[in-house]
Every structure is written in structure tokens, then in C-alpha cells.
């Protein structure tokens, strides 16, 4: 097929929206939409080789205003993120197209909002200058407000707090835009990068800080992370998967483009925060490290599976930022790759959790257990997902984590390396708690006759799990486009091969590692099954219980307060200062609102007029 330019994709998206809005609640429409998303993904894939060679998919969507030509075209980085978006959207719609659709009333709203979201995100990914970026950014935040508020009630409140944070971010970006416009009076990236040094140093600092706050809010970087967990947890299954996978990565994409392409990592290294304590890059890296650690250990305490995963989404976001800002070929490659990896296993995990709650009706970890015998496919998907999320070898999560660790060590930042590992260990603990409380342990009485989720829901899960494994086995597939991305951005390129990376000082070849693992597990299985006598299957009540006889009515399961020792040691650290900060701001706003309203509701308001006249005249006399 000839090289498709962006207009075809935009056209398909509009068709998407049209179908979703008009016939959203028809039974077959889910499948058509999935096909459309996959078609869009394929159309980008076919012309992907063009992108890899650094060319650009141009579109006819341009307009000039105030001597600024705003043009939309898709570069390789946009293409990479677009692929992830289409993958996530396609599989999410596939998940919701089958039997699940009947269990969810406002399915038409869901499909149309999903289509709108994908369209807005593609617009953002294809934006080519600050003005286009800002327009698309506002659209994305508005449309994700819609999709978050879809369930009403609790998720409506979460959506309201989200949109306030989003507007705070948008205003920060707008201020940065205006300051840039004042210095370079142009919005195009090339021009801004060219004129960047004309700005005074502390103005540069302000602009970078504003941009980070603006984009960081969408990525839920530490001080602004409170909105994301409830927003991504209390939404229906496909939306949670879609949002968890890609929505908050839009902030990362924007930050990635702005910080690396426009501002340039060297500028960030030379920018010093006031009083010369710490330079901007280290400040950001530590912010990212904290964003990795704190949400992960908050996730540890969650009892609702969806919230646990949502908090992990925030944590992994910090990890990606850590990678991208490490100013090292491996680090940036790891950061971007982690976006893909996280998208794949986060979506898989959300699907698994929601398929459990679809069958059992609840996602509360204290009321589940022992479902492995009833829902084997969901278990395998969740197993693959948690190995990916924890970043253990066979899965793709390990590769991006390895890259980022190697970068941190090579750049000589051992403490950051330690912080990252603490984050990962926390992930392993909380992830085991997730799989143990849902699938392992005693099966409850009421879940006796639970069946596996229908095929329409389990196939997308399995596809995702296989993607996680395959990209883990052959990371070269991703590294190829990442290297192309690094070259377009003008940052140092990682030298990769199909199996992984070989730097001078310690390299990684996943093909070897994974094949040896498979071989070793084969040997282990050989030893285990061949030697020794045949095994005898035993029911869950035939357990050692210190002499008691286990009966089905007694709940013999340990899942609540899973890590008591750890919790006793670190519970003093949970002081949720950010929560108090947030409610303090809200109460001051309400107080000021009350005052200014009372100011107007005055019986004798002429007094103010006269006071003003006298004061201003006195001021005039004083001048």
C-alpha cells in the first residue's frame, strides 16, 4: 500500500466517532470499532518504515493565525505513541464489544467518548508546534474529563477534581507559552530552540518549571498525583485499561518532545534552581524517583485491586520520567520503552482485575481468593502482567528497567539507582499481594461455580499477555523505533540488536536470557516430574491446620493487612501531607469566594464608591 498520509487516519477517526455516536448501542458496533482501530494502527504501521527513516506523515490540517502557521504532522515519536494508543483502544473496545457490552448500560457513551479520546490524542501526537500542542492538549484534557466522569457518582467527583488539576496545568502551559512568545514571538519548535538562549536565565527556569507542572499534572508527578488514582479506578473496564495504558502518557510525550527536542537536555543540566542547591535535572530526577516510590508504597496499602493498579500507574510514570531525563542513550531508550511495556501489562492487569470483578462482582481484595482453579486464563494473564509490572526477566518490563538502571549506574547516580530499586521491590511486594489475594489461597463458598470470562473478553487479555512476553523476548522490535526517535530528537542513539543492547560495560541479550530460562525451567520440570513418584491432587481443605479439621464454612484465608511487619515499620511515614495541602487550598478559595460575594451584597454600597473617589483623589494629590 502506498504511503498513507495523516489525512487517511484522521478520516478513519472521524468515521470512528460517527459510528460510535450514531449506533453506539447496537450489538455488533463494538466489533466494527475494534476493526477500525486496528485498521488505523495498521495504516500507521504500513508507513512506519517512512517514519523510521526520519520522514514525516504530513496532513492537510493547517491554518495560519497571527502570522503563525499551525501544522499537524506525525513524526516517528508521534507514530510510536500513536501505535500504543491504537493498540490500547482497539483491545479495550474488543474487550467491551462482546458479552460485557450487555452488562454496561451507557455503552454508546463509552464508545463515543473512547473514539473522541483517541482522536484528541492523535491530534496531540501529531502537533508540531506549541500552539497546536496547546490546542490539542486542552482537547485531550476535556475529552478525558468526559470519559472519567462516565460512571457518575464517585467517578464524577474524581473527574471534577481532575478537570481542576487539568486547568491548573493548562494555565501553567499557557503562561509558559506566552513567556516563550514574548522572547521569540513564534511558536514553532525550531524557532523557540533557536532563540531559547535569548531569554534571561531565571526566565528560562520559570518556563521550564511551568512546562513541567503543566505536563506533569497529566502524568501525575508527585505534588499533583492525588487526582489520578480514583479517576482511573472507578471507571468501567475498557476505559480503565485505556486510561491506565496511555492517557497519562500523553503528558510524558509532551514533556519528552518539549524538554528534549525544544529545550534540550544540556540546557536543563545547566539550569540551577535558586540558591544554587541543585540543578534542574537532578531536581527532576529526584522528583521522578519520589513519584516512583511514594505511590508504589501507597499502592501497597490499598485493598481495592483497581486502586492498587491505578497507584502503580502513577509510580511507573515516575519511572519513565526517571529514564527520559537521565540524559543517557540507554536511559531515554529505557524510558520510552517503559511507556510501551507499561501500556501492555497495565492494560492486561486491568482487564484481568475487571474480568474477576465481572464474574465475582467485586474487586475488593479482602473478599476474593482461590479463583485460580476457576479462572485459569485470567490467572495466567495476571501472572504475566505482574511479572511484567515487577520487571522480572522473561517479560518486557525487565528490559526497560534494566536499561534505566544501567543508565543510572553509568551516569554515576547510585542513590537514584537505589531509589529506583526500592520502587521496584515495593512493586514486587504489592503485586504479589494482588495475585495472592485474588487468585491464590482459599476459594470462597460463593465463588464455587464461577466460570472463566467469555472469549470476547479473554482473547484481548491473552493478546496483551503475549505482546508482553514477545517484546520481552525480542526487545529489538521496540528499540528500532526508539533509536529512530532518538535520532530525530537529536539526542544520543542507543546501539541495539534484536535481543537487546550491548554497551561496552555490561550488555543484555534477552534472547539468550529468556531461552536459557525456558531451557532451565524445562530441566527443572524434567527433574521434578520424572524423578519421584506421581503426584496426588488434594482439595483445599486437606491442609495442615494444627490438628483442626477444615470445613467449608470457616474462612481459612489470610489476605487482609498482607505485610504486617513492613507496615508497622513504615506506617509513620504515611502522613499524606499533600492531602492537607490540597484541602487547605480549597478552603481558602471558598473563604475568598464568600468574602467577595458578601462584598457585593451590601445595603449601603455607595460608601465604597465615595471611598474610592476620595482615596484616588488623595493619591492624585500626593502624586
Amino acid at each position: 500500500m502506498s504511503v498513507l498520509d495523516l489525512d487517511h487516519v484522521f478520516f478513519l477517526l472521524i468515521v470512528n466517532i460517527g459510528i460510535a455516536v450514531l449506533w453506539g448501542n447496537r450489538p455488533f458496533v463494538g466489533k466494527i470499532l475494534t476493526l477500525l482501530y486496528i485498521l488505523e494502527g495498521l495504516s500507521i504501521l504500513t508507513s512506519y518504515h517512512v517514519l523510521l527513516s526520519g520522514a514525516v506523515l504530513s496532513s492537510s490540517l493547517t491554518f495560519t493565525v497571527m502570522q503563525q502557521t499551525v501544522q499537524w504532522q506525525l513524526g516517528v515519536s508521534g507514530g510510536f505513541f500513536a501505535l500504543i494508543t491504537f493498540m490500547a483502544a482497539g483491545l479495550a473496545t474488543w474487550f467491551s464489544s462482546g458479552v460485557w457490552a450487555r452488562s454496561y448500560a451507557p455503552i454508546r457513551l463509552l464508545h463515543s467518548y473512547m473514539a473522541l479520546n483517541v482522536a484528541a490524542m492523535l491530534l496531540l501526537l501529531a502537533s508540531n508546534d506549541f500552539l497546536g500542542l496547546f490546542i490539542a492538549w486542552e482537547l485531550v484534557s476535556l475529552v478525558s474529563f468526559l470519559i472519567i466522569a462516565i460512571n457518575g457518582g464517585r467517578s464524577a467527583k474524581a473527574a471534577y477534581s481532575y478537570i481542576l488539576y487539568a486547568f491548573l496545568g493548562a494555565m501553567a502551559i499557557l503562561l509558559a507559552l506566552i513567556i516563550i512568545w514574548n522572547a521569540t514571538n513564534s511558536f514553532s519548535y525550531v524557532e523557540v530552540r533557536h532563540h531559547w538562549s535569548t531569554m534571561s536565565v531565571n526566565r528560562q527556569l520559570i518556563v521550564v518549571l511551568l512546562l513541567i507542572t503543566g505536563f506533569g499534572i497529566k502524568m501525575a508527578i508527585l505534588p499533583f498525583h492525588r487526582w489520578q488514582a480514583p479517576a482511573y479506578a472507578y471507571v468501567p473496564a475498557p476505559v480503565a485499561a485505556f486510561l491506565g495504558a496511555i492517557s497519562s502518557r500523553m503528558g510524558l510525550f509532551a514533556l519528552f518532545i518539549v524538554l528534549l527536542q525544544v529545550v534540550g537536555i544540556d540546557v536543563i543540566q545547566t539550569l540551577w534552581l535558586p540558591f544554587e542547591i541543585i540543578n534542574m535535572q537532578t531536581f527532576l530526577l529526584w522528583l521522578a524517583a519520589l513519584t516512583l516510590i511514594i505511590p508504589t508504597f501507597i499502592a501497597l496499602r490499598q485493598t481495592d485491586a483497581r486502586l492498587l493498579l491505578a497507584w502503580h500507574g502513577i509510580g511507573q510514570g515516575g519511572f519513565m520520567l526517571l529514564g527520559i531525563l537521565s540524559a543517557n542513550a540507554l536511559g531515554t531508550a529505557g524510558g520510552i520503552m517503559h511507556v510501551f511495556n507499561h501500556a501492555s501489562y497495565q492494560a492486561a492487569l486491568f482487564f484481568a482485575v475487571f474480568s474477576v470483578s465481572y464474574r465475582t462482582g467485586t474487586a475488593d481484595l479482602d473478599r476474593l481468593g482461590g479463583l485460580v482453579t476457576r479462572m485459569p486464563i485470567s490467572f495466567t494473564v495476571m501472572l504475566v502482567g505482574i511479572i511484567g509490572l515487577a520487571g522480572l526477566p522473561p517479560m518486557n518490563g525487565f528490559v526497560s528497567k534494566w536499561l534505566i538502571y544501567k543508565a543510572l549506574l553509568d551516569e554515576g547516580m547510585p542513590l537514584l539507582f537505589l531509589a529506583a530499586v526500592i520502587g521496584t521491590l515495593g512493586t514486587i511486594l504489592s503485586v504479589y499481594k494482588l495475585i495472592h489475594n485474588t487468585f491464590l489461597g482459599q476459594l470462597r463458598l460463593e465463588h464455587e461455580n464461577i466460570k472463566e470470562v467469555p472469549w470476547s473478553m479473554s482473547i484481548p487479555m491473552m493478546i496483551l499477555a503475549s505482546i508482553v512476553f514477545i517484546t520481552g523476548y525480542f526487545p529489538g522490535l521496540l528499540l528500532e523505533s526508539i533509536a529512530a526517535m532518538q535520532s530525530t530528537l537529536g539526542i544520543s542513539v542507543v546501539d541495539y540488536h534484536l535481543g537487546g543492547v550491548n554497551t561496552g560495560k555490561g550488555n543484555l541479550n534477552m534472547i539468550v536470557v529468556v531461552s536459557t530460562m525456558l531451557m532451565a525451567i524445562g530441566m527443572g520440570a524434567l527433574i521434578f516430574f520424572v524423578l519421584g513418584n506421581p503426584r496426588k491432587q488434594v482439595t483445599q481443605w486437606d491442609n495442615y491446620a494444627g490438628g483442626h479439621f477444615l470445613t467449608s464454612d470457616m474462612r481459612y484465608q489470610y489476605s487482609h493487612n498482607f505485610y504486617p511487619g513492613l507496615m508497622r515499620v513504615i506506617s509513620p511515614l504515611y502522613r499524606n501531607t499533600i492531602f492537607w495541602l490540597e484541602s487547605a487550598i480549597v478552603s481558602t478559595v471558598q473563604f475568598m469566594a464568600h468574602i467577595s460575594y458578601a462584598l457585593f451584597m451590601q445595603a449601603n454600597y455607595l460608601l465604597y464608591l465615595i471611598l474610592l473617589v476620595v482615596i484616588s483623589l488623595l493619591w492624585v494629590l500626593a502624586v
Binding site: I387, G412, L429, I435, F528, R535, Y558, F562, P564
Partner: protein, 298 residues
């Protein structure tokens, strides 16, 4: 390296690891007995224990995942063996570095956790939560030690580290504090006395082993041998210059395994909270101090 040469090493390395592991376990039990003024087990006792467990008639399994967990357990360490630098055999050391090794060592603990989880015995789950908390506890100082070492050597590839130590001086001499902290961390990783809450025989009723019997328990013993071997080889290659020939490699391993045993004998068991607090206080402090020295040396 021709294909069958690789294949030979793939088979030989784990076997060697298992044998050396057996002798290390034997040595530990012998030394412990001697200190407690008793004779100690005969020469091949650990091997016989494993064989006894494997040939048991009643092999009770609690489900597919229970078996899969054990297989993952063995597989994890067998893969780790292949990546360890052993004199004479290079194996796949060039394809994966120390970070890969650390993660490969986490795979078995996850496998064990899954297996135990499937046994649906809350005591097992409590044991696993203690094991994972302990893992969190000892991994942090260990990571700091590794960070310090890698920073000092400038590379994360084990064969290069060994070559560097051959040309310069042993890691032990150049980074004494880090080596000490590493030793304590290894002590905890081996699950020896003060930190053996999750594998202690007395805690068997509440530990992960509660539902393990027969060849499941046997595989755990195999895992223990492989674990000791892996950890000691890792430590030697980092701080004791690795093995140039088998004759200086084996004594180093026994030396590294000997020190923790000396300490374990005289200590009671910590509770999980104290394991956490102690390991996060002293070894981590030492390791950070060593790291600071390495960083300052530039």
C-alpha cells in the same frame, strides 16, 4: 564458541553448581555441629536427604500452580548459574550482567511465593509475606553494595570486574567497608540464623514450607544448595577477585560461606519488624558509607 560446547556448558554449570552447593551445605552443617560440640552429619548427608524426599511414595500437590512454582524455583537458579563467571567456563556471562543476575535471583522467590500461595494455607501465606518483607529488607543494602562496586569498577559485567580485580587489587582491599556490608547482606540472603524467620525449622508450621512435603521439600533443598552457590560465587567475583583456577575458587567459596555460619550459630531469631529495622539500619548505613567513599574517591 561452537554450539555443542555451549550446550555442554549449559548442562555442566548447573550440575557443578549443585555439587558445590551440596558440599557448601555439608560444610555449614559440619561447622555448626562442631561449634555446638557435636559430630555433625556424615559426608553425603545433604544428598541423601534430597534423594529420600524424592523417593517418597506420597507426593501431595495442591494444584498446577504449586508444581509450576517449584519448577520456576529451580529454573530461576539454573538460569542464574549459567550467567555466573566460573573459571574455565564462560557460559553466557557476556550476555547478561550483574543487574540481570539480581533479577534472576528474584524469580525463584516469586516462584516459591506462587507455589505456596496455591497451597491455600494461610500459614504459608503468612510465611511468604515474611519472606518477601525479608527480601525487601536484605535487598536494599545488597543493592547499595552492588551500586558501589559497579561504580568503582565502572562496569556491570562480571567477567570484566574479575579481570579488573586481577590487574588491580581485590575488591575486598579497595572497598573494605562495602565488602563487610556485602557480607552481612549475603548473610541475610542465605536466610541464616538472625534473619531466618521464613525458613527456620521451628517456624515450619507458619513458614512457607508448611504444605511442602516429598519432592516439593526436596526441590527446596536443591534450591537452597543452588542459592548458596550463586550467592557465594557472586560475592567472590565482586570482592574476592573471582576464581582464576578451580583450586583457588573453591576455597574462596567455602571461606565466604564459612563466615556467616560462624555468626549464625550464636544468634537467636529476629522477628520480621526487627529484621527490617536492623537490616535497614546497620548494613545499609555501612554500605552507604562505603558508597560515599567510592563516590568521593571519584
Amino acid at each position: 564458541m561452537s554450539g555443542q560446547h555451549i550446550f555442554l556448558e549449559l548442562i555442566l554449570m548447573p550440575l557443578l553448581a549443585f555439587m558445590i552447593g551440596l558440599f557448601l551445605v555439608l560444610m555449614m552443617r559440619k561447622v555448626r555441629a562442631r561449634i555446638e560440640r557435636r559430630v555433625g552429619p556424615p559426608f553425603l548427608q545433604p544428598l541423601w536427604d534430597i534423594i529420600k524426599l524424592y523417593v517418597k511414595k506420597m507426593q501431595i500437590s495442591h494444584g498446577v500452580i504449586h508444581d509450576l512454582g517449584i519448577i520456576m524455583l529451580l529454573g530461576g537458579y539454573i538460569t542464574a548459574e549459567v550467567f555466573l563467571p566460573v573459571p574455565g567456563m564462560s557460559g553466557f556471562t557476556s550476555q547478561g550482567d550483574i543487574i540481570t543476575l539480581i533479577y534472576l535471583m528474584m524469580v525463584p522467590s516469586l516462584g516459591l511465593a506462587l507455589g505456596v500461595g496455591q497451597c491455600a494455607n494461610p500459614n504459608g501465606s503468612i510465611g511468604i509475606s515474611r519472606a518477601l518483607t525479608a527480601m525487601l529488607a536484605y535487598d536494599i543494602p545488597f543493592i547499595v553494595v552492588i551500586a558501589g562496586a559497579c561504580l568503582y569498577y565502572g562496569t556491570t559485567d562480571l567477567t570484566e570486574i574479575i579481570a579488573l580485580q586481577k590487574s588491580q587489587q581485590w575488591g575486598l582491599l579497595s572497598m573494605p567497608i562495602l565488602a563487610l556490608a556485602g557480607l552481612i547482606a549475603i548473610h541475610a540472603m542465605l536466610g541464616k540464623e538472625p534473619f531466618e524467620i521464613y525458613v527456620a525449622p521451628a517456624e515450619i508450621a507458619t513458614g512457607p514450607m508448611v504444605e511442602m512435603s516429598g519432592k516439593y521439600l526436596g526441590s527446596l533443598f536443591v534450591m537452597q544448595c543452588l542459592q548458596i552457590y550463586t550467592i557465594t560465587v557472586l560475592y567472590t567475583s565482586l570482592f574476592l577477585g573471582g576464581g582464576y583456577t578451580w583450586f583457588d575458587f573453591i576455597p574462596k567459596l567455602f571461606l565466604v560461606a564459612l563466615l556467616p555460619v560462624m555468626i549464625t550459630v550464636i544468634f537467636p531469631r529476629y522477628k520480621t519488624d526487627d529484621v527490617l529495622r536492623w537490616l535497614w539500619k546497620w548494613p545499609t548505613g555501612l554500605a552507604l558509607l562505603g558508597l560515599a567513599i567510592v563516590v568521593l574517591q571519584g
